[in-house]
């Protein structure tokens, strides 16, 4: 059965060169060797027709189905075997099937991560792993964070520090958990008065800081060429206000979300060539967020620069 599944997944992916080079995300345990560069282009489609107003799950016919599409170029660079840099810049488009409000589109936030491999230690029949990822992101262009839910992002700089722990067994099974503290700055809006549990006379909104947890159980098959993971993600803002009754969200909101998902990635096995990835996420619970279903797919191209 497992073999059958594996072949199905394989067949759905591109015919590719094999390699040990690896594309990665800021929350996983994957690292690239020195001088290796992986570029990726990811498309993501996310939609919801229900959202949480505070903790109340509701519909709104003047939004109908809300759709957010993202195209994201991404690059990961093996600075050294132990230090990798990851950068990404998503282009986002939002629209609603109902109502008369205009959707938005444009580039969102440029994010740069530094990922460090601190520990790889054989322990029993596997390796114990510990990595950290520090990232900084900042809005580019002039998208307006105050057009929620249509805004492309929170419009604030973000600094994050993440610890990633894992255990990768020799038989290909991986258990991984990562926890990040996200420090968010302010977003500048285009009005100089707003309501957040009272009057605020400012054109700046404080975007709440958050904790972000990622967990995964994965399996590396076909000689480390195919990676399959079941994932869990949880993000909790530590402060903030709720969307008020039948009102629109704003960047000061205390957003919370937890979702489960799956991730499949096919790696190449030569110095350069194409790879592919696909993922799915389903929001289970949330606060001041849409109950989104997300699918994503991407192609990667890797090569050795030095």
């Amino acid at each position: 059965m497992k073999k059958y599944l594996q072949s199905i997944v394989l067949l759905t992916l591109f015919q590719l060169w094999f390699s040990t080079l690896q594309a990665q995300t800021p929350w996983d345990e994957v690292m690239m060797g020195k001088g290796e560069i992986c570029t990726a282009l990811i498309y993501e489609h996310s939609s919801w027709d229900q959202y949480w107003e505070g903790s109340y799950l509701r519909e709104n016919a003047n939004i109908g189905t809300f759709t957010r599409q993202m195209g994201m170029p991404m690059v990961a660079i093996g600075l050294t075997k132990k230090i990798n840099i990851i950068a990404s810049l998503p282009y986002i488009n939002t629209k609603a099937s109902g109502g008369t409000q205009a959707g938005q589109s444009g580039f969102q936030d440029l994010s740069v991560s530094v990922k460090v491999d601190w520990l790889q230690k054989q322990l029993g029949s596997g390796r114990l792993l510990f990595l950290t990822n520090a990232h900084v992101s900042t809005p580019v262009g002039n998208y307006l964070s105050d057009y929620m839910p249509f805004s492309l992002g929170a419009g604030a700089p973000e600094l994050g520090f993440r610890g990633i722990g894992g255990y990768k067994m020799d038989n290909g099974l991986v258990f991984r958990a990562s926890l990040a503290y996200l420090w968010r700055g302010q977003t500048e809006v285009e009005r100089d008065y707003y309501y957040e549990k009272g009057s605020v006379y400012s054109s700046f909104m404080n975007v709440p800081n958050a904790l972000n947890f990622h967990g995964a159980i994965g399996y590396w098959a076909f000689d480390n060429r195919l990676r399959m993971e079941a994932t869990y993600m949880n993000l909790n803002c530590l402060t903030g206000d709720d969307i008020r009754s039948y009102n629109r969200p704003q960047p000061t909101n205390k957003t919370e979300v937890s979702q489960v998902g799956a991730w499949v990635q096919y790696f190449i096995k030569s110095d350069q060539g194409f790879g592919a990835l696909a993922y799915f996420n389903q929001t289970l619970s949330g606060r001041n967020m849409g109950k989104a279903t997300t699918i994503g797919a991407g192609i990667t191209y890797q090569f050795k620069a030095y």
């Binding site: 016919a61 057009y147 309501y195 009057s199 605020v200 006379y201 400012s202 909104m205 009754s245």
Partner: protein, 513 residues
């Protein structure tokens, strides 16, 4: 690994640097307390709005400063002042020598808190806020622009009248302030020669609390706590003794009665009509002009916002018909098509500056509304000019009655012509601002703003051009937002200006010039 250390140190430094350049997000206007530009010793002779004459409200003659009763009050004041907690000191600083500013801010905050449109029920019907059951849901009130304009008018008029009466007795009895009687008392605010009996602060506090409690019935406890804090701060600041306060609240209470009486019979209770009346208003327009506005939301709202607000009693304009403009161009006419084409052009080629203007003036749901925005301008102008509370109340009273009158005039026009919004006439049109639940012509924001600007231009002539330019910008912002045609905005500005001149004319003859 050395590189690594550098990277983390750099990151840490970025956090520190960016943390230190966080902008403040204040909850009220932070300004330095100021001495009054003048005291208006003859303020008690100014014409009032609700009160016939100050003699209509009587207060007892105060005890002499040499009396044992007064001396006991003075001792009590000094005792309290000598043992203030940090919180009490903060309250003294917060309320300032011009508490009109703070009560106006409290009013705007409640407007923003209650400016939430009721959503649909599960079966697609809508429940309207009900004054008889304020807790709802939905909570009462929905503090939309007409509601807020009226709330601010009653608040400001009551404050103004209470202060004229207070000034009348201040200069009739001439009892000096505590720090004039006892030079050991160091007041928290700049010293002046204003007689302290009756307390103007207490008069402001009681009318503000009472009027706002009528307008926001669920906020009684909150308003009471603000009131108590304000009253205590008068003694803590060293500007009033207890008997000053008692006399001030006595005046305020009488003014509140007059205000409540007017408010209960001004027609507001009938402004939100049932569907049959609303439909007959729409059909009358359709028969007259061949068009009618309809709500485009899903599910459709059966009744527009306050169809009969145009019948509410005005303050400065004798009849609403005299400020009703002529008809807008018919949909489909060449003039209409030109203005509709302009909206399509703005929507598809929005510049950053146009977007900014649309958003800066949005004043939509959840905000303090366009009238609130003009109250903020008035507040800033008042502080800049260092006006005393009486003169501040006068500015707010004339501006807010003009703004409410503008609202009444605009609503009369809106439902008389019943003109469809751009999202109704232009197929597939999408907007960056939400389209409100009432007809287009004339633009409310334009009308409110032009009326407010006209009054502020009169009171602050040096800034007149700036106020008028702001009103023009408020008007055009609605085009960028996609919710009004140019003719809505231009005729709205003319209408608001016209309504504003009635208030200015009245102000010119109230004895304060």
């Amino acid at each position: 690994m050395k590189n690594l250390k550098t990277i983390y140190i750099t990151l840490f430094s970025i956090i520190l640097i960016t943390s230190s350049c966080i902008e403040e997000t204040p909850n009220y206007y932070q300004f330095d307390g100021y001495g009054f530009e003048k005291l208006d010793e003859n303020g008690g002779t100014w014409k009032t709005i609700l009160v016939t004459s100050p003699a209509q409200i009587s207060i007892s003659q105060p005890e002499a400063t040499s009396s044992a009763a007064y001396q006991a009050e003075l001792t009590n004041l000094k005792q309290q002042m000598s043992s203030l907690t940090p919180k009490e000191k903060e309250a003294v600083k917060y309320w300032t020598s011009n508490p009109i500013i703070r009560w106006n801010e409290i009013a705007l905050e409640l407007a923003a808190k209650y400016n939430l449109i009721p959503g649909p029920n599960a079966d697609g019907t809508y429940t309207l806020p009900n004054a008889a059951n304020p807790a709802g849901p939905p909570a009462f009130p929905f503090a939309h622009p007409p509601y807020t304009s009226r709330m601010l008018a009653y608040l400001s008029v009551s404050q103004f009248d209470a202060l004229v009466v207070a000034w009348h007795y201040k200069y009739e009895y001439n009892r000096p302030g505590p720090y004039r009687v006892d030079t050991n008392i160091e007041p928290a605010y700049a010293k002046n020669e204003l007689p302290s009996y009756p307390s103007n602060g207490a008069a402001i506090a009681i009318v503000s609390k009472e009027i706002l409690a009528v307008m926001f019935p669920l906020e009684g406890a909150y308003l009471e706590s603000k009131y108590q804090e304000h009253i205590r701060s008068l003694i803590h600041a060293g500007i009033n003794v207890q008997s000053d306060i008692v006399a001030g609240t006595a005046i305020g209470s009488e003014v509140v009665k007059l205000a409540k009486q007017r408010a209960s019979t001004d027609g507001m209770a009938k402004a939100q009509t049932p569907k049959p009346i609303s439909d007959s208003i729409a059909n009358a327009a359709f028969e007259r002009f061949g068009w009618k506005w309809k709500n485009m939301e899903t599910p459709q709202r059966p009744v527009g916002l306050t169809p009969l607000f145009g019948k509410v009693r005005m303050w400065n304009v004798p009849t609403v018909e005299e400020v009703r403009p002529g008809p807008p161009p018919a949909p489909g006419s060449a003039e209409f098509e030109a203005d509709a084409a302009e909206l399509r052009k703005f929507a598809s080629h929005m510049t950053i500056s146009q977007r900014r203007i649309a958003n800066w003036w949005e004043d939509g749901l959840g905000s303090y509304t366009p009238p609130g925005h003009w109250n903020k301008f008035a507040k800033e102008a008042i502080v800049k000019a260092k006006l005393n509370p009486l003169r501040s109340a006068r500015v707010f009273a004339y501006m807010n009655t003009a703004i409410m009158d503008a609202g009444v005039a605009c609503w009369d026009t809106k439902y008389y012509y019943h003109y469809p919004r751009p999202i109704q006439t232009i197929t597939g049109f999408k907007t960056i601002l939400g389209t409100p639940n009432f007809p287009a012509y004339t633009s409310g924001h334009s009308t409110f703003s032009a009326a407010g600007a006209e009054v502020l231009a009169h009171f602050f002539p040096a800034d007149a051009a700036q106020f008028r330019a702001r009103a023009e910008e408020a008007a055009v912002s609605r085009l960028y937002g996609g919710i009004h045609y140019r003719f809505d905005a231009e005729v709205g500005v003319a209408q608001g200006k016209n309504v504003g001149t009635y208030a200015v004319k009245r102000a010119k003859s109230d004895g304060a010039q």
